[in-house]
């Protein structure tokens, strides 16, 4: 997945642009709306075999697809919806090549909790993608990017028409965060007092102001 320079944006008209780890790249996965769901299996569309290359499977269809493919692998991406429960799905989420959480709308906040659970409780370390239930596969604008990243997403499909390059600036909207999240495992109320494991260096833009924290202003 090579990073695209802004002048090459027109190349994305063919391949959808996706933000991965704060870079705009051409998407290697199918779009979320085309994920294999329970209906497509019932239709017998696949006759016991699946398309070559990366495929997306909805969580509800996973058990049925698993019977065909045997086990999770890097070419399989799992699509989770807001109402899905994560318990008992798999012993190793890291077998999947991708986990995408599909938001029914930008106001459906369940995916923010699901993302943290996947990262912090289920140990998922792979690509975690925020997608949306729209034709383009995205519902978010740049305005939710920072929060999405803080709860553990590292890949983002934005809503149609949103300028992905301009959107990158939104990751830098805020210099600090009060809470513990996936992005900052140590909350500020502990980090201020140096109460963090040595390897955790707070992600701050203003390193100079960090020094002022310990003495009340």
């Amino acid at each position: 997945m090579a990073e695209l320079d802004p002048p090459l944006t027109h190349a994305l008209e063919a391949a959808r642009a996706v933000i991965i780890k704060r870079h705009v790249v051409a998407d290697q996965w199918p779009s979320a709306p085309s994920a294999i769901g329970a209906e497509s299996l019932l239709d017998g569309a696949f006759h016991g075999t699946l398309p070559e290359g990366p495929i997306l499977v909805r969580l509800l269809a996973w058990q049925a697809v698993k019977k065909i493919v045997g086990s999770a692998s890097s070419r399989i991406g799992l699509v989770i919806s807001g109402g899905d429960a994560l318990a008992g799905i798999t012993d190793n989420w890291n077998d999947f090549g991708l986990v995408a959480i599909e938001f029914s709308s930008a106001a459906d906040g369940r995916g923010f909790s699901l993302a943290r659970l996947l990262r912090e409780r289920y140990g998922y370390r792979g690509e975690l993608r925020a997608v949306g239930a729209s034709a383009s596969g995205g519902v978010f604008t740049r305005d939710q990017l920072a929060y999405l990243e803080r709860v553990g997403f590292d890949a983002f499909v934005l809503r149609e028409g949103e300028d992905v390059h301009a959107a990158l600036g939104a990751f830098h909207s805020f210099s600090y965060a009060y809470q513990a999240t996936v992005q900052h495992a140590t909350p500020l109320y502990r980090a201020r007092h140096g109460l963090m494991p040595p390897h955790q260096v707070p992600a701050l833009k203003h390193d100079d102001s960090w020094a002022t924290l310990t003495s009340p202003s």
């Binding site: 930008a106 106001a107 459906d108 906040g109 369940r110 923010f112 909790s113 699901l114 943290r116 409780r121 604008t141 305005d143 920072a146 929060y147 999405l148 803080r150 709860v151 909207s173 805020f174 210099s175 600090y176 965060a177 009060y178 809470q179 513990a180 999240t181 495992a185 140590t186 909350p187 500020l188 109320y189 502990r190 201020r192 007092h193 109460l195 203003h206 102001s209 002022t212 924290l213 009340p216 202003s217």
Partner: protein, 567 residues
């Protein structure tokens, strides 16, 4: 008063820049109305009946005089010369233009103020006792906990798109002055017999369409674990709260549908899975927050002030004001004072409204008499928390000039009211004219004083911003075939013994309301034992005698006749 550090300050300024960009993108068509709505709401901006309304956060009701002067400036420059204090200790401006809002927010940021999360489906401003830190009956200063919650809730990325709004209140006293039992979460600071401070956690209370008294879900939570426990509650709510129907989306419905026991188990299970040690608030942080509330420079004074006592004897009007508006203080020689925003007669204004001139005057009084600090109470009045007893008479003399000295705090005319149909696009009926009619009917202060404490709360719609359910007398605006009517409830109460009022009967037309209230008061006066409180009398008698009197007389007949005449 909490003093920002570099982090608090930086975040507020960055928020202003972010919202300036969002507003610009909305105005040039890059963001749709649907996309912009949650963004503007989380910055306090509603689109109202006539104009946008901007709700500015007053964290747990605390203001300094510099901030109050800034609010006065904003009222003058961007509004029509006044602001409205709300039942959640915030202030709202009813007439700014959308284009001016980023500039207003920039001006607010200059004085450590903002409108962050004053609206929207997120954690709202945390509220508390207006006498926090000075009340004699508190076990700890609740403001430290409030500030801890403020920082935890500000830009919490996991809980910015909840099923519905989320309100937390904190109380630390023998008397609950923060209505913690009717909040999504009530945090009650308690002290164990061994001297340890911790929290009793209440969840699932609320007013609105389905009023419910909250349930205690944990009797004792050690102080360091408050935030992880809040995370657990919010996560259960965020994942399982209903999103299909906004009227069933508050946490109280989830608690009710699951039952409090099952909800509690879900929260406890979630909490058990969190890393308590990594999320614990260390003692250093409590100490740091405490240090960010500079101590008032109290003088060593006698508990009794001879001049104050003399003025009480010499001036009955002053004595009456002192009885209603002066409150005990934990430091000898000091008192807390309520500046009533519920004046009567020609000074009357909508409950909670303050003009720019009044805001400036309040700032002046705060500087002169109360270390430059002011508070907002959930009863929509202003508080000077640290006044020397020897200054009370001077303060009273000056408060009178600015219509702040009506001695009606806790009394019938200390009406709580939402802005209602005059401003709010959600309202079914107007609140302000009803408040006015009642205030005019009960202008006789001697009479109202003799009636004793009565809470009268008015909401213009079922959202219950005026807390009508917990008013001793509650008034709710309802819509009947496009006409505005008012339902009356009796027997509601706030505090630890909170109860929800019972509906008296069929609703009334606006012009009947003063008569109805007068009849209710007449029944009380007839049946009252000695100095019995109104609420005790209602509890003793039940609503039947009130109902009989209110509906037996001509009022009802006239209503029916009018309804018939209207077809």
């Amino acid at each position: 008063m909490y003093k920002y550090d570099i982090i608090d300050e930086t975040l507020v300024r960055e928020r202003v820049a972010q919202f300036r960009d969002q507003t610009a993108r909305f105005l040039n068509g890059e963001l749709t109305e649907d996309e912009f709505r949650p963004l503007r709401l989380q910055n306090g901006l509603y689109i109202q009946r006539y104009a946008p309304m901007l709700r500015v956060a007053v964290p747990y009701g605390m203001l300094n005089s510099r901030q109050v002067r800034k609010l006065a400036h904003i009222a003058r420059t961007y509004d029509r010369g006044y602001g409205h204090f709300t039942t959640r200790q915030n202030i709202q401006f009813n007439w700014p233009t959308l284009e001016s809002v980023p500039q207003i927010l920039a001006e607010l940021a200059e004085v450590e103020m903002h409108a962050i999360q004053t609206s929207g489906n997120c954690v709202r401003n945390t509220t508390t006792d207006q006498f926090a830190g000075v009340a004699r009956d508190e076990v700890a200063d609740p403001r430290i906990t409030c500030e801890l919650i403020r920082q935890w809730s500000t830009f919490h990325p996991e809980f910015a798109y909840l099923p519905r709004k989320f309100k937390i209140a904190v109380a630390a006293s023998a008397e609950d002055r923060a209505a913690v039992l009717v909040h999504d979460i009530g945090v009650h600071i308690v002290k164990r017999t061994d001297g340890q401070i911790g929290y009793r956690i209440i969840a699932g209370g609320g007013l609105g369409r389905t009023p419910i008294i909250g349930h205690v879900i944990r009797e004792w939570l050690p102080q360091p674990h408050l935030l992880s426990y809040l995370d657990a509650i919010l996560r259960v709510y965020n994942l399982h709260g209903r999103r299909d129907n906004k009227y069933k989306a508050r946490i109280k419905i989830l608690v009710k549908e699951l039952t409090p026991a099952v909800f509690t188990r879900e929260v406890e299970t979630e909490w058990a899975a969190l890393d308590h040690a990594a999320l614990a608030v260390p003692p250093q942080e409590f100490a740091r927050l405490t240090a960010h509330f500079p101590k008032s420079a109290y003088q060593t004074l006698h508990a009794v002030d001879a001049n104050f006592e003399r003025h009480l004897n010499d001036h009955p009007a002053f004595a009456r004001w002192a009885k209603r508006c002066v409150h005990p203080h934990k430091v000898a020689g000091y008192a807390a004072v309520t500046l009533s925003l519920k004046p009567l007669g020609k000074e009357w204004q909508a409950p909670g409204d303050a003009s720019a001139a009044q805001l400036d005057a309040a700032a002046e009084l705060a500087d002169r008499y109360s270390f430059g600090e002011l508070r907002v109470s959930h009863e929509q009045n202003l508080i000077l928390a640290d006044v020397r007893l020897c200054d009370l008479f001077d303060l009273w003399s000056q408060a009178k000039i600015h219509a702040f000295a009506t001695p009606n705090v806790g009394l019938l005319t200390n009406i709580i009211a939402c802005p209602g149909g005059d401003f709010c696009s959600l309202a079914n009926a107007k609140s302000i004219p009803v408040a006015k009619a009642i205030a005019e009917r009960f202008e006789n202060l001697d009479y109202v004083f003799d009636l004793g404490p009565i809470d009268l709360n008015i909401s213009g719609c079922i959202n219950a911003c005026g807390h009508h359910h917990i008013g001793h007398i509650g008034i709710l605006g309802v819509d009947k075939d496009g006409q505005e009517f008012y339902q009356v409830t009796l027997g509601g109460a706030q505090g630890w013994g909170a109860s929800l009022g019972k509906v008296l009967g069929p609703s009334f037309a606006q012009e009947e309301m003063a008569d109805v209230i007068e009849k209710i008061i007449q029944v009380f006066v007839q049946h009252r034992n000695d100095d019995e409180l109104f609420i005790d009398c209602v509890k003793r008698l039940g609503i039947a005698p009130f109902k009989a009197t209110v509906y037996q007389t001509s009022t009802r007949t006239e209503t029916i006749e009018r309804s018939v005449a209207r077809g």
